[in-house]
Symmetry: C2
Subunit: 370 residues, 2 copies
């Protein structure tokens, strides 16, 4: 018997989660913020979503997923869900956190996918703010499970399914409990470290903004180009590698677990034929990226999510650790000018999650042991 | 009677200077470094260069310029020259400085065009190093006089001729003397400030590297695009404007003369119809830039000259002045990774010109009064 699931979000990723898990046997409700619910109107009319497994991935379903509920009522959406996945860009999470907080109950698990830096920590604050003391299991994961795209409002297709995705609970002492519950729907997930380490693992942090900055005029002019394959030219790949090196150095200096993004990429997409000796090679040649076109606006989550919820926390932890991150900072600074947005004030850094007064050891104790 | 002129260099710019000044009545010798002299072989065969005034500029000549000497012998090239113009990228100047230093004589004027930061100061050191105490007038100017391109080794065409170009002598007490001599060939030049102020004026410092960084993959993939008109999209224009703001702030904090790059651009190219209310507008719409295609390699002077001889000195003077230059630093850092070159160690900063031990006042006194 598969667990009941609620998916919070309405974009490509959320629809892929909802359709695949429904086709695999869960009762699935899909909740979208009322402000954006009109995007799901067509799905409501036909009662679900079509899922196309474009690359014949062995672990992904295909067909029409007759969803059990598509709603903008959060209370109904999560009422009998054992597992709740929040699948929205990090800058959109807060609204879903606040909507769900009053209704979460003992025994429920809420998982942010991707979490980016600090999602579960922020969720724990919001639960406290609304006075909800239920025993809710908070889980961060490093990325989205699917590379998914929509052809139209009811058709989602996937080109990637990540094998070996890592997740951690807050506190990490509950990792085993969390991963056992998640294994009922995603047996490929692995528990790993703590939520700070998960927050620093997202490979999007390393890839997205550097490539955008080095292709800014193409993006702004909405010229068609393959984001990784063309936009990730060898020199741009070096910028990506430089940010990656800074990320590893920060993790090492703080005594945090890290894993090269190259290894992550090769493992996730081994079944799809991803190869390469360097991160730049694997990135530019990954078959999964064969249809990944660049954004057509600089106001895109590749900058507006990955900078404030990935790169700025990384830069800040570099300061804490005494590790220089000049290339990370360079990408942040140009991203701020290119988007014309004050991404620093929007960042979910240590201050935003209320942990800036903790020593490094206190911080690790908090996420490890609560 | 026009003064005798020597042009040092063999690229588009140097050929434009040589041909135009010859056609205007000077005796002109053209010298190129022996390592690159083969580039002038065809010109040697026919004894000169064809100049095309593509836009019908009122102050530019057209026709075949029968040069008086084309040589890789520096002593012969400058023997009877009253005015010597060094027209090479800043990273190439040192070889020409060292070649010319033993032969420069009383009464000669040597002008670096463009100088970028510190050219005349470095020349004065080299003269001292070779023990040449002649009274040579050293002049820095902010840019190249012509926007020039070559169709083939003997045909150069120009699309721009800068009205109101600024120059300063080292020391600045000799500005008047220098500008009077230059007026015999370029009556439109104006003397202005001192060589540090000239070094911080080059608009290329503000334009080139930011646009390259934001179009890095296009450049590396050698895709054809109009550098300013397409590469300078509105957001990229904001990066240019941000570097410009930092430049002005540094000048102000040091008590140095500055002038908005927008005003410079509008004045230079007024005759060509350049307009715009912002720097980004003027840059992207300037008719002179209608044929300016982007580089097809990141190892191009737009990065390898303008970063170490423009942006890094600007950043360093920002540190001296206590002015933050985060966007300038960001472009430098990404330029280093993109070119895979240690541009900081190649920079002609205060240390490279031996002035890093001087206080700000001593520095200004040196360039003003010698």
């Amino acid at each position: 018997m598969k667990p009941n699931v609620a998916i919070l979000g309405g974009g490509n990723g959320a629809c892929a989660y909802a359709a695949d898990l429904k086709l695999k046997g869960s009762k699935v409700s899909l909740y979208e913020d009322p402000r954006f619910f009109s995007n799901l109107e067509e799905a409501v009319k036909i009662g679900g979503l079509y899922l196309e497994n474009r690359c014949g991935l062995p672990n992904v379903s295909e067909g029409f997923a007759n969803l059990d509920l598509i709603t903008d009522n959060i209370e109904e959406a999560i009422a009998d869900a054992e597992l709740i996945f929040v699948v929205v860009p990090a800058f959109g999470q807060e609204a879903f956190m606040k909507a769900a907080a009053p209704y979460l109950k003992d025994g429920q698990l809420i998982c942010f996918s991707p979490a980016n830096f600090g999602a579960s920590i922020r969720m724990s604050q919001i639960l406290e703010e609304v006075g909800n003391n239920s025993d809710v299991l908070l889980v961060d994961t490093e990325c989205m499970m699917y590379s998914g795209f929509k052809d139209d409002p009811t058709h989602v297709w996937v080109s990637g399914y990540k094998i070996g995705m890592k997740a951690a609970a807050l506190p990490a002492t509950r990792n085993k409990e969390a991963i056992e519950k998640i294994h009922n729907v995603y047996p490929e997930w692995e528990d790993w470290g703590n939520v700070i380490e998960i927050g620093l693992r997202n490979i999007n942090t390393v890839f997205h903004a550097p490539i955008c900055v080095c292709n800014a005029s193409l993006i702004e002019r909405a010229e068609e180009f393959l984001f990784y394959r063309e936009g990730g030219s060898p020199s741009v790949g070096r910028v990506v590698e430089a940010v990656e090196s800074e990320r590893i150095a920060v993790c090492n200096a703080l005594g945090l677990r890290s894993e090269p993004s190259l290894d992550v990429l090769l493992k996730w997409y081994a079944a799809s034929g991803c190869k390469g000796d360097t991160l730049a090679e694997a990135m530019s040649q990954n078959p999964v990226y064969e249809w990944d076109y660049g954004p057509t606006s600089l106001h895109h989550r590749f900058l507006t999510e990955d900078i404030p919820y990935g790169m700025i926390p990384l830069e800040q932890l570099g300061e804490v650790a005494g590790v220089k991150t000049p290339v990370t900072t360079a990408v942040i600074e140009l991203g701020i000018v290119l988007t014309n947005m004050d991404l620093r004030s929007q960042a979910r850094d240590l201050k935003a999650i209320g942990l800036d007064q903790l020593s490094k050891d206190e911080l690790v104790t908090y996420v490890e042991k609560g």
